[in-house]
Amino acid sequence: MKDIEYAAARSVDEAVGLLAARGDKARILAGGTDILVQLREGLRDADLIVDVKKIPELVGLSHDAKRGLRLGASTPCYRIYRDAKICAAYPALADAARIIGGWQIQSRASIGGNLCNSSPAADSIPALIAHDARCVIAGPSGRRTVPVAEFCTAPGRNVLARGELLVTLEFPPVGDGEGARYLRFIPRNEMDIAVVGAGVWVKLNAAKDTIAAARIGLAAVAPTPLPATEVGAWLAGKPATAATFAEAGDRARRLAKPISDMRSPAEYRLHIVGVLVTRALAGAVDRARGIVIGHSPNGQEH
């Protein structure tokens, strides 16, 4: 890696000041599992690294049944899936945190870093879309809030402007009859980038036999993580049955615009996105009914 300066910011204002002054030449360091690799391989360039892990607001979780979850952008993944309350309330987020790299990566990698790296294949983003998370962004002119579904703009690009950083992710409170699931399809068992990913959230009616509302986010089937808004809207009012899940899978296929690359031909992605949406819906509905399901990353329990 070329010579670089390092600064550990102690406050959001200090980080914003450094980023605003240095512009493109400064990069934020959270867990470093994307940025250090990219700097070393020359995929990104920077003169200054701003470590944000010493800013209290950026690290940690605070959960309140009435207000929801506030997740510091740089909180490492392991703190999410080791927290039983978070696993129960935001299970798709926990599913994703558990499979981003292996344990060594999860000790450092953050959800904020996964989101700000803005890969179309990022595992947490479909789960964040499914849970309807919002980004709290700080910048030179104050704070603003952007839904995760509108955050990514192109591969590796997002709405952050010069001097801005992601401070927290905010999740709405969770009510009765809700469930969520994130599934990822890869050829290996672990440690691989998604061929396709699908995050699903559902809310069932009081009898728990009908879907009252649903949200779906997809990974690796478009230039950005894809909110499958039309499929979520179609699901409202449908019976929570295998036939519904399969039709939702078919509808997700029609929205997907995947490319062919070293991981998969587009045709395979198109097929698999339907399979994953179907399985993830079944898992989310099981969870909404209080059924405990396994952690299989691709939804095939063994």
Binding site: M1, K2, D3, I4, E5, Y6, L29, G31, G32, T33, L36, V37, R40, E41, I49, D51, K53, Y78, G101, G102, W103, Q104, I105, S107, R108, N189, E190, M191
Partner: protein
């Protein structure tokens, strides 16, 4: 050249201070400055786990930690796993199960397996394979590694 930073850490139970450039990884400093060459560089990009160390009790890839980030941290490397002259049961079981061939992956596997057994003293085969997915081995086909970790778990259970 960028000014060097002074970093103060605890490594394997002893205070360790060093000077580093901000671009240097913890792995580089461990191997080249502190001469703790047990941690290996396999890929230098987070994929192989050969550089695994414990940082404040958590397994991390030391190739993806900047040395400056280690300020104030407590670090355990493979050199700190044996208890004085006695091999740790994991080391003993790797040795007796031939859970290695070339040995490049072994320090990382042992450090990561130590973290696993500290958290979960009775892991299933699935637990072992899942938790050690961040460590790659090109030689053994993993079976012997899984069995060595299972044997070490049993040996440690006998000790308590």
């Amino acid at each position: 050249m960028v000014k060097k930073t002074h970093v103060s850490t605890t490594i394997n139970g002893e205070t360790a201070e060093f000077l580093c450039e901000p671009r240097q990884s913890l792995l580089e400093i461990l191997r080249d400055t502190l001469e703790l060459t047990g941690s290996k560089e396999g890929c230098n990009n987070g994929n192989c786990g050969a550089c695994t160390v414990l940082m404040d009790g958590l397994p991390v890839n030391s190739c993806l930690v900047l040395a400056v980030e280690a300020e104030g941290a407590t670090i355990t490397t493979i050199e700190g796993i044996a208890e004085q002259a006695h091999l740790h049961p994991l080391q003993q079981c790797f040795l007796e199960n031939a859970a290695l061939q070339c040995g490049i992956c072994t320090p990382g596997f042992i450090v990561a397996a130590k973290a696993l057994l500290d958290r979960n003293p009775k892991p299933t085969e699935h637990d072992i394979r899942f938790e050690l997915a961040g460590n790659l081995c090109r030689c053994t086909g993993y079976d012997k590694i899984v069995r060595a970790v299972q044997d070490a778990a049993a040996a440690l259970e006998g000790k308590h």
